[in-house]
């Protein structure tokens, strides 16, 4: 397998994008990645589009073929990848192997979602369709309630408090203020969302024990990467950002089938596989983007990925270690919490964020001396997880 590099990245600000259709967002972002790489007339051999909801929310299928048409990328091979909220990383994984195997040279991955057109209760239902149809969905379960049930057990087991969760939100909101692409640009304080008596109105419970500011927003948006053989980076005069490791793992669909529901096995295994392939250890990572659809997940994932021992993620947060200036910055771009979570786009957005970091292009949210980066994409409720490790080689 040859080395694969991220030659170009593209992103549009996440948020409420009323004027853009899903195809508009995918097309614009795809072109941005192509232009960023500066590939000129070089042909693109493969296209992957990552998306979860178009068939349900937009009554639209065949997105990849439609994108090839919009961008006149014929006769490129193309597929739409649906893996719930892990669609983005899945698309990157597929693109990676297409290039690594030598089957394709240049592969474009565009990930997008349009979720804000539909009313919140329908969007909630759409996201819930990924739960177990008989054992969970029929009860009206929502992802926030799955996270709530998980959080209740995790907090009890490891002593994670409401304040820890609020601190994740505050940190990520502060980081989001530095990221022009973030959906949410709003500073929040522990006082306003937790400690003050008025916080019961500012930050009501949405799925106990989780509150309003424990959940990411519903966003529209798209992100893209262009992959190619690593040696092309020099040719294009771009920094050589290599995908050093990719790991993926699955777990049971129904939460109740897991022996220990607090054990995010898929995160652990996917991360271990990625580290093994990259021949790196968690301590070698300078910057990480994890999947904080809910604040509890940032803490839990940071442990299961190997950055902290189980039960010590909250302490690391308290000590400021996961801040941009800390020794293991997590979600310097605001994470899903502030950057936003157009579900299909998130996996690629995390990789774009890491690429910016490794290139030194992250502007106000730049982490110093970022050479090795880690990105996690959490599909379903932890039943399909993909970890990716990127390193700067030149």
């Amino acid at each position: 397998m040859r080395k694969v590099a991220i030659l170009g990245v593209g992103m549009i600000p996440f948020g409420r994008r009323d004027e853009d259709t899903l195809m508009d967002m995918l097309a614009v972002t795809g072109l941005k990645a192509m232009d960023d790489a500066g590939i000129g007339d070089r042909p693109i051999d493969g296209v992957y589009v990552a998306n979860m909801g178009a068939p349900i929310l937009e009554n639209k299928t065949g997105l990849a073929s439609a994108l090839v048409d919009r961008l006149c990328l014929f006769p490129a091979a193309a597929e739409t990848i649906e893996n719930g909220p892990a669609s983005g990383a899945s698309a990157i994984k597929n693109a990676f192997f297409a290039v690594a195997s030598g089957y394709c040279d240049l592969v474009l991955v565009v990930a997008g979602e349009k979720m804000r057109d539909t009313i919140i209760w329908k969007a909630t239902d759409f996201v819930a369709t990924m739960t177990h149809p008989l054992a969970e969905y029929i009860y009206g379960v929502t992802l926030p309630s799955m996270a709530g049930m998980f959080a209740r057990l995790y907090m009890e087991k490891y002593g994670v408090t409401e304040e820890h969760l609020a601190k994740v939100a505050v940190k990520n909101h502060n980081n989001g203020l530095l990221n022009p692409y973030a959906h949410i640009h709003m500073r929040i304080t522990l006082e306003g969302i937790l400690h003050h008596p008025h916080a019961i109105v500012n930050n009501p419970v949405i799925a106990s024990p989780l509150r309003f500011y424990d959940a990411c927003p519903v966003s529209d948006g798209a992100a893209a990467v262009l992959l190619g053989p690593a040696e092309m980076a020099k040719e294009l005069n771009k920094p050589e950002i290599v995908i050093a490791g990719i790991g993926q793992a699955t777990d049971t669909l129904a939460l109740q089938d897991r022996d220990d529901p607090t054990d995010l096995k898929a995160v652990t295994i996917a991360s271990q596989k990625a580290f093994a392939m990259a021949k790196l250890k968690p301590k070698d990572i300078n910057v990480a983007q994890v999947h904080d659809a809910f604040t509890i997940l940032e803490i839990a994932e940071s442990e299961h990925a190997g950055f902290f021992k189980k039960g010590e993620g909250a302490k690391a947060l308290d000590e400021g270690r996961t801040e941009i200036g800390g020794d293991i910055p997590i979600n310097p771009d605001g994470g899903l919490k502030a950057r936003g979570h157009p579900v299909g786009a998130t996996g690629v957005a995390n990789v774009v964020a890491i690429t910016w970091q490794l290139r030194g292009e992250a502007g106000d949210f730049q982490v110093k001396k970022a050479e090795n980066g880690f990105a996690l994409n959490f599909g379903g409720f932890g039943n399909n997880v993909i970890a990716a490790i990127l390193r700067r080689e030149a």
Binding site: I12, P13, D18, I119, I120, W121, L177, P180, Y181, I184, H185, M186, R187, I188, T189, E191, G192, I193, H196, P197, H198, A199, I200, V201, N202, N203, P204, F212, Y213, P217
Partner: protein, 234 residues
Amino acid sequence: MFVDMELEGIMRPPELPMPPYPPKVVTMATGQQMVIRQVRREDVPAILDAIRPTLDIERDFYDVVGARLYAELLSWQKYRAANHYCIIGQIEGILVGIVNGRMYTRDVGMSLHTMTIERGLRVGGHLFSAKMEYQIEYLDQKEVLIVAESPIGMRRFVIDFELEPRPDIPHELGGVPSTALTRELWFKHRDRLVVGDRPVPKKLMEVAEREIITPTEKLINEKIMGEKRMRSLL
């Protein structure tokens, strides 16, 4: 504008006694404080300046709400609407939300509109509760009729407050059949929905009363949301 007070005597509707709403201050998620206070007729022009831009915004029925709110406030200002009140929310003097309503009769209230800067700050939650607090706890009404132009707003009210249907009493705004917030429903839910400290500290009140500042994108982003500089065009 010249006003013939003799003619006004004939034109102006009789008013029910309406005790004032005592202003209060709320701490927001941003850590800032929002002053919630009832306004007087003299304040209407400043508020209309803030509403005017919404007349061209189609999404979320801003244009309908804006147009109606504009008309209601203007009518009230010119003494052509009876028993009307308006309560606003201000952060550092910047107008972040407006709610209004009327006493339909001594016992029945008519909730009219809620308009806020929509930034996830829950200004609408605080202000809507404030006007229900006013109509039930200060105006001592038995129930308040509620409808909304936005289906999202309507559904939220009906579900959050467990509103009772009142299809036989048409709401002044028309649209969906009326629903009612009764005293019983209010007191059942109010503790999780109404917060605020009284009295408002003097300095905060001075800033609020000095000027009702129209919320521009720049002001909202910088003063309220905490942006250090404007997001560049991407």
